[in-house]
Symmetry: C2
Subunit: 246 residues, 2 copies
């Protein structure tokens, strides 16, 4: 068997998320359908670094699969890109050894989140940003970001439905910059809980709007209570940017 | 009667162009439908600076219409944006006097054209750029651009179906820059013939690919023959950027 690692991009707009679900169009479903064709009807299961929700985009999601087909990485890329729909592309292919696992070998991830802050909605950005047309204090947001850096229990910043018990994660980088009429959040960490980036961004926007002071972030972290943090920012602004391996 | 001037943006992806056509979704059709509702079923005809083709985007298209409704520009903008679909937005409204005409008062236009030059197709750019994954000589393109500046007969650079007899136009600015993995063409002139920007861009890409030398541009201009210029670049990369008035 050969193990194939693929770095993929997708436009999340027309997918009901990453993970296969019956009768729904998903990223995993589309890729597995193509692989099944290439393997003459034999099912091939793919594994991702993690799921993404409906409408969430990916610039550098990583998947892997095992195959009996022996082919150079360049040819895998060409074959897959020729057969995949226009809203998924394979940016890179690597033949890896069987110790590599897209999920278990992952040591960190980077997400980005785009907030469009123009006053009037922009049709060209409607699927690719969150439109937030209210005034924001960027300095306060940047100050608040600092409190989330490092190792914390992120119970307050993940979905209340999260079943994982250990909610301690490390955020290694977190910055926000204004680029023209957008705020771009970049967040890198060793792992993220369900909805964690969207809740963090939602809370940062609450800070920017003056609903929280930056100094309240440590208090919210300490409360370990989802209801204390801000709203979950919409999926359309979120990008899985990069997955890190050793 | 009050004359209302609107600067509008639209995502051309889901429109069959600007101009009303029976049973087709068009920008003009959507705006007139909203105005008809606001005027209690009375038809209101809108006038644009010019048409755009199917899939072409607009950042600063200008339209105007006459109305019996008296309302502040700010309220026009709010009302229209509340009723228009997500892929059209009104960026600015101005109450103008009856000598203003979106088409006849126009003294110039600026278009932009985005060419994505990355090797692998990018799902997030598929509706917003032209994907050209071949090697290009940017310097040659920049040199060729210079030959189009100024006043020329653009017969070679407009659709062979063009019925307008006077094909003399002035290009005031024309530049191309690489921004990350895109070439951005910006072209400003006193008027553009049918398909003119797309044929110019297509020809510039032919120069970049070495199919024409920059020095051949004056020869192509002089021939006044559409078959001498390059292919018409696809609609999806084109943006009507700005319309100029006195």
């Amino acid at each position: 068997m050969n193990r194939v690692k693929c770095t993929i991009s997708y436009d999340g707009t027309n997918f009901q998320g990453y993970q296969v679900q019956p009768n729904k169009r998903t990223v995993q479903g589309e890729i597995e359908r193509v692989l099944e064709k290439m393997h003459k009807g034999e099912e091939v299961r793919i594994h991702a670094s993690g799921r993404t929700d409906a409408l969430v985009h990916a610039v550098g999601q990583v998947i892997h699969f095992d195959t009996t087909i022996s082919m150079e990485s360049r040819n895998w890329q060409k074959a897959l890109n020729a057969m995949l729909p226009e809203d998924i592309s394979v940016r890179e292919v690597e033949i890896v050894d069987s110790t590599f696992h897209s999920r278990f070998s992952c040591i960190g991830k980077e997400y980005r989140y785009r907030v469009y802050i123009g006053e009037v909605r922009d049709p060209l950005k409607r699927f690719y940003t969150y439109h937030y047309p209210y005034s924001l204090n960027l300095e306060a947001i940047q100050q608040a970001c600092q409190y989330l850096l490092g190792t914390h229990d992120f119970t307050s910043f993940c979905s209340a439905k999260t079943e994982i018990e250990d909610r301690v994660r490390t955020i290694e980088e977190f910055q926000v910059d204004q680029v023209e009429d957008e705020l771009i959040f970049r967040i890198k960490g060793n792992g993220f809980l369900y909805n964690m980036v969207r809740i963090i961004v939602g809370t940062m926007l609450d800070v920017g709007a003056g609903r929280f002071n930056p100094e309240e972030i440590p208090v919210i972290l300490g409360a370990k209570d989802r209801t204390r943090a801000g709203k979950t920012a919409p999926a359309s602004g979120l990008y899985l940017w990069k997955v890190y391996y050793k």
